[in-house]
Symmetry: C2
Subunit: 299 residues, 2 copies
């Protein structure tokens, strides 16, 4: 039953209780108490047990078929390639009018796989929480990572407005600071820059260290900061890199171009050119920080 | 007057009360109370006034000549190129047996400039606190940044053991976690990797952003982390980059090689090769974190 223009959600199923799914479960419980019944679906028995003991879910299931027909909202927090398979296996089990959403970091390949096989009685609003931890598994889940973070929605023409509105206000209620609607193509383009390029850099930086130097004695916070995300979930990120290959290659090349210009300035001992680059970077970073701060509290 | 093997330091002069000199003043006051008389020398009147009001220095001077003859320990926190000039201007003002030290981030050029002109009645123990803030000026000074940080010493054959020992225990007393002695060449080689390369990357990353994308709506902590140091002091860092040019160019090239291999893996959709790189990076990062943590509390 629905009020005018407002989705009534009673039961939420979270598919996959890893670091992202677990964080959702905790965030929903912390922000909404027992307003929703939270169901966790995960193939790992121990994960379900932990989620239950922590009070993050009301019920845990290894298979979705029994309980999916109750779920008004389904949150996929699976590896991107597994979402299509899950939907195909559960086509007739989704509740009439169910709202589905996801957390995948690259949108086009996932949406191109899912949209053609989506049953017509559900609505999939694709979402991307820009928060995460480097580690995987429920032990590293934490509602804290969502606080003030960006949340992105890539609507399709099929999405009902009330469902997009619900996801927006729901994500805000979990602590996200900014919710932005954008196109699929632009999402994947800019994410290749802000997210995949940064991980490519961190990995290449730490891998370019020569071994046997006892580097740890010679680091400051800059090296700590730039390598934090080098402790990367290899399965997830190799998938994201390959799915977003054309955009990512472009972003890497734009970055390499900047680095090449900087190398030339260093080799030529061109202090003026270096200073110009540093001043530009400083201006951009200050502007980013100010916009980040003010949007966090205004949006 | 000196005890056997232990330097007796009564008066400390800090030359330059910017972000590093100010942090030293505060750290000494916080850690050592009034055991030392702290003298600040800075050309900026307002800076001296602030340092005095904060209780970080006992006396402030715009010129060193009057007060330098009292100083047992002199800490240079000037731009690297200014140290030589200061010494030449004050050759006969240093106290007999005075211990001098610095905070410059690249050692060879500075030491090659300073050592030949150093008066024989002083001992210069070159040091590098691996801590700092992106902003400059006394307003951003903070003793906090030294806590647990690395400190590097590049001894010369001229240094007296008691002076090296003093700097070591003095820096530990200010909160530094690890003090490491190393050669000048190795210092500049590895610092080009851990410190200058990271800044070159951060600057090139943020400068490679295409303008007009409202990037702030599409960032997570990875982009925040990797660009934090892009807000860079252009005068200091262009100097450091140029002083350490050969090492820095090598470090950039080793990094670019890794990035090129990664690009090939992405273009070939070679999941196995990507995963291998990610696993290696993760192993290195975990090892770094563990060594960083354990050395911080054991050394």
């Amino acid at each position: 039953m629905e009020n005018e223009g407002i989705r009534t959600i009673k039961t939420i199923a979270i598919i996959g209780l890893g670091v992202v799914g677990g964080s959702y479960a905790q965030a929903i419980r912390l922000s909404c108490g027992h307003r929703y019944k939270i169901i966790g679906i995960d193939t790992d028995e121990l994960t379900l047990k932990k989620a239950k003991q922590l009070g993050w879910i009301d019920q845990g299931y290894k298979d979705g078929k029994e309980v999916l027909p109750q779920a008004d909202l389904v949150i996929f927090s699976l590896y991107p390639v597994m979402i299509k398979t899950f939907i195909l296996d559960h086509l007739s089990y989704f509740k009439e009018g169910a709202l589905l959403t996801d957390a995948t970091g690259v949108k086009k390949p996932c949406m191109e796989e899912v949209l053609p096989i989506l049953p017509s009685h559900v609505d999939f609003v694709f979402g991307h929480p820009m928060a995460g931890r480097e580690k995987s598994g429920i032990d590293y889940a934490s509602a804290q990572v969502f606080q003030g973070a960006n949340y992105l929605i890539t609507p399709t023409p099929l999405n009902k407005k009330e469902n997009i509105d619900f996801i927006e206000s729901f994500m805000r209620s979990l602590g996200f600071g900014r919710v932005t609607q954008t196109t699929i193509d632009f999402h994947d383009e800019i994410i290749s820059f802000t997210s995949q390029l940064t991980h490519a850099i961190a990995v290449s930086l730490i891998n370019s260290d020569r071994e046997g130097r006892e580097t740890v004695r010679f680091i400051g916070d800059s090296y700590r900061d730039l390598t934090r995300i080098a402790n990367i979930n290899e399965k997830l990120w190799s998938e994201l890199f390959i799915e977003n290959a054309p955009n990512l290659l472009q972003s890497i090349e734009a970055f390499e171009k900047e680095l090449t210009l900087m190398k030339a300035a260093i080799a030529n001992k061109d202090k003026t050119s270096l200073e110009k680059r540093f001043v530009e970077a400083g201006k951009r970073r200050v502007a980013l920080e100010e916009a980040d701060y003010s949007l966090k509290y205004k949006d």
